[in-house]
Amino acid sequence: MGWIMAGLAILGVAVGLILNAFNSSLVFYFSPSQVVNREAPQGRAFRVGGLVEAGSVQRSQDSLEIRFRVTDTVSTIPVVYQGILPDLFREGKGVVAQGRLQPDGSFHASEVLAKHDENYMPPEAAHAVEQAQKAQKTVVAK
């Protein structure tokens, strides 16, 4: 009995240490601020995640190339991607792009995933929220 308990305790500590060591690689994506501060891995592919900056999406006329900026409201990273976007890719919504950082500071993505938020609401409620936010903005502007 005592041996089992001791064994369990040791295993628990070991798992804790392993998790601690893996902590950095458990990060699924890096924020634009981390990329700007050079906390993201250099010279290899990684993922950058944040919001698609409103008004930043530019589609090419004659190819599937698409350019947009990913922001965490502090820093932004310009992203270039060739391919088909997921349905939930929207301006102002979450996105995770996998690719490489180029020397010019832009990010060449090979895969773009939409990141959904935890809010679920019917279209009418979403419309109401939008109206309320617009109203608030006008008040602030005044």
Partner: protein
């Protein structure tokens, strides 16, 4: 009330036999109501459209996958500490249901992930730790069936189950601790729910149905395990005679 009275297989066997049909009926009833609310009454989601309706199955299944593991580990701890036969049997009875819910959570998650995220699977912390949970359940079942002597099988399984408990808080808090593709919790004990009321009701009723299903299945399965392990005892022969 004497706890040991109900912990005796001889008392629990007929009790489980009386209880499980009731829980199965509750599960069927609540499941029908929950699915009706989820697929007919609840409104469409503003962002995702109809595909969000997978949450009525995905979220209750994911909750149960974690909760059943905690209950199973609790029984394992009781079995190790007090050498009660029934707790080890309950742990073995819960494992397949837990594995089933884990698989359903992963599978429905993949079905949802493709249209919304754009991928079936990503190795983010939430999904990876949930996959580890499936392997823990399967490992528990495999380890127990690999050892012939039931008492040794119980003890080995219990140690594995208890070590695996560390994975449960990792699954639950992964979306808070690390950047994950999986979104944060819409419903938690500490914050107001972040979803429309009808959607929430559908999900909670489905969760209750999943509870009732898990209880019914584990009671049914523990009866089979009791028959298998206590087949040489006099009380079981009498009980089986009486049921005939």
């Amino acid at each position: 009330m004497n706890f040991y009275h109900y912990a005796a297989p001889a008392t629990f066997y007929p009790l489980a036999g009386k209880l499980w049909p009731w829980f199965a009926a509750i599960a069927a009833l609540l499941g029908l109501i929950g699915l009706y609310i989820g697929f007919v009454v609840a409104p469409t989601d503003a962002q995702q459209g109809e595909v969000y309706r997978v949450i009525f199955i995905h979220v209750p299944a994911a909750w149960m996958s974690m909760f059943i593991y905690l209950v199973m580990a609790g029984y394992c701890a009781l079995g190790l500490a007090f050498k009660t036969r029934l707790s080890a049997m309950m742990a073995s009875a819960l494992a397949p249901t837990g594995a089933m819910f884990t698989f359903v959570a992963l599978w429905t998650g993949a079905l949802w992930g493709k249209p919304t995220w754009g991928t079936w699977w990503a190795w983010d912390a939430r999904m990876t730790s949930e996959l580890i949970l499936l392997f823990l359940y399967l490992g528990f079942i495999a380890l127990q069936s690999a050892i012939e002597d039931p008492r040794r099988a119980d003890r080995a399984g219990a140690v594995l189950a208890l070590v695996g408990v560390v994975n449960i808080p990792i699954i639950y808090f992964s979306v808070k601790w690390w950047n994950t593709l999986h979104q944060g919790a819409s419903v938690s004990l500490t914050a107001a729910p972040k979803m429309a009321e009808t959607m929430l009701w559908g999900m909670l009723i489905m969760a209750l149905a999943a509870w009732a299903y898990a209880i019914a299945m584990s009671l049914l399965r523990v009866r089979a395990i009791i028959i298998e392990r206590e087949r040489q005892t006099e009380w079981l022969v009498e009980a089986l005679e009486a049921e005939r």
